[in-house]
């Protein structure tokens, strides 16, 4: 019984950990600027391809883990300045622009790297035994590392000056700018940080999946669900949403076909909207 349960719990934790990091950027960008960033999945892809590039230049996982968030941050910052900042006033325009961006980025990555999945080397081989069940070391590392990143981000959100300004802007953008906080700066930094986190998630994911130009899209849909179910603009909402979606997506396929499981998650998110339109833990 326990030997069945432990791998299941760890599989669920792996997905939850990835969702935590990916969705945080999306939830904060949505809560702060009311922008749904449909190019968010491409930041994951970019992170994974930074790993591919680093490896092709003789580097390893650890170098990629440092470089990718940096690349994500700079790229996010440029995008925010050039495009996203122009569409804050109209959420529909933001959707169209970020979707356009997503299509272009996918194709550019496809043209540069080709259609064949890239493979990357994971930093830890082998498995360890936990209470009679064997489990890959890399996944254990991923869970611990992602939870640590999430905890640090949550701490920044709650305790730092940037976090304070961010939360204030989410609650009342006008009042915050009256108090002398530059909204453009907050928006740009929040957007870039979200991109950096997604790129980091891309590196963590790369050893576990096929690295292709379209790998981001699956996580895009999942992080929507997390934000829908959990609530936009709140860290606890991200945690609640990731926990629920991650557990369901891992648990359901044990009992029912994978496709039905995915449909059920969508149905759950839609039914939730009727009864808690602002999510489980609204900002």
């Amino acid at each position: 019984m326990l030997t069945d349960f432990i791998p299941f719990a760890l599989n669920a934790m792996t997905l939850i950990s990835i969702l935590l990091i990916v969705s945080m950027g999306m939830a904060i960008i949505f809560g702060l600027m009311n922008v749904i960033n449909l190019a968010h999945g491409e930041f994951i892809t970019i992170g994974a391809f930074v790993f591919v590039l680093v490896q092709s230049f003789g580097g390893n996982f650890w170098i990629a883990l440092v470089v990718a968030p940096f690349v994500g941050y700079v790229f996010g910052l440029c995008l925010e300045k050039a495009l996203i900042s122009r569409v804050y006033s109209n959420p529909l325009h933001a959707i169209l622009v970020t979707w356009g961006l997503s299509l272009i980025l996918q194709q550019l990555i496809l043209l540069t790297f080709g259609a064949a999945p890239q493979s990357v080397r994971r930093p830890f081989e082998g498995s360890i035994e936990i209470a009679g069940a064997t489990y890959p070391i890399y996944r254990i590392f991923l869970i611990c590392f992602a939870q640590a990143i999430f905890a640090i981000t949550a701490l920044i959100f709650k305790k730092s000056r940037f976090g304070l300004e961010l939360r204030a802007s989410i609650q009342s953008p006008e009042m915050t700018s009256v108090m002398g906080v530059d909204p453009d700066k907050i928006n740009a930094r929040a957007f870039a940080s979200g991109a950096a986190l997604a790129a980091l998630a891309g590196v963590l994911l790369a050893p576990l999946t096929a690295v292709t130009a379209f790998m981001g899209i699956n996580y895009l849909a999942r992080s929507f669900f997390v934000v829908l179910v959990g609530g936009a603009g709140s860290i606890s909402g991200v945690a609640a949403g990731s926990g629920l979606i991650g557990t369901l997506e891992t648990a359901l396929p044990y009992q029912i076909p994978n496709t039905v499981a995915q449909a059920l998650v969508l149905i759950l998110a839609i039914v939730m909207l009727r009864f808690r339109p602002k999510g489980l833990v609204p900002a």
Binding site: V97, Q107, N258, F275
Partner: protein, 323 residues
Amino acid sequence: MTDFTQTLRRRIARRPATLVAIAVSLVLLVLPAFVNAYALSSYRDVILFAIFALSLDVFWGKTGILSFGHATFFGLGAYGMAVTGIHFEIDPSIVSLVGLLAGVGLAALVALLVGYFILFGGVRGAYFTIVTLALTLTANHIAVGWSSVTGGDSGLIGVPPLVIFGLSFVDPFRSYYLCLAVLLAFLFGSIAIMNGRFGLILTAIQDDETKAQTLGYRTSLLLLVTFVASASMAALAGALYAAMNGFVAPDMIALLLSTEVIIWVAVGGSGTLIGAIIGTFVVWWLQQEISSFNASAWPIAIGSFFIALVLFFPRGPVALVSE
């Protein structure tokens, strides 16, 4: 009689879109005289896509709420038609009608359920868009994954050709005119409805939903009715497409199709109805030109179009021309 012609002239002057609609209909009516049978079947498909685009414009253009999931309904229509035709032993004389009913019914049911939960939950604007986007993604996963029914990645071939009340529509001329008749019925039907009381109420909801509610209109219900009607129209186009081409594939229920239909409507100018049809033809022609260049070129063109649309022509290219 002069009174009548004067009234007519005044009405047309007030609504130039109707005049354009009549001109477009005439062109499409005489088109078969000038093209060969092969080209005619391509034009028939474009007409079906135009019905699909019109269905999106009826909802998006008139309520201001963008559905990113319209390919779900087109695809449900197509798969409903194909699955009933292939997996069930139905009398060949009624199989097309059953398929049409199954496809359109399925799409209407999904639109009703999804629409009920999100529209009555007070979800509007951007949230509606992403929920419908997620709907397409999930529908596509099911179409690819449930291969015993949907044929998986390769889809299904051998959809029975369209036969309605003993009348076969295998002949390209007949099928072209059937699709054209459906298109024109929907076009003039929706122009009439949208110029009438119902359209006015929708415009009021788009401008200020709270005010419309205060005036006693059940806005969520009206939006739901429009959404379900729009989804059914899209599904009919999909079901006809499956029957006339004889196959279905997962790209008929994919995000790229949802995206393309938004472009068809946006190029023609959303809310104009006839614009959706003109947009479909223009973009279809452009796609032929661009795709022949490189497979990646078309998605990049779509992406650039979205960005250009928002940054330079936020009210649509047609609005730019009419200004």
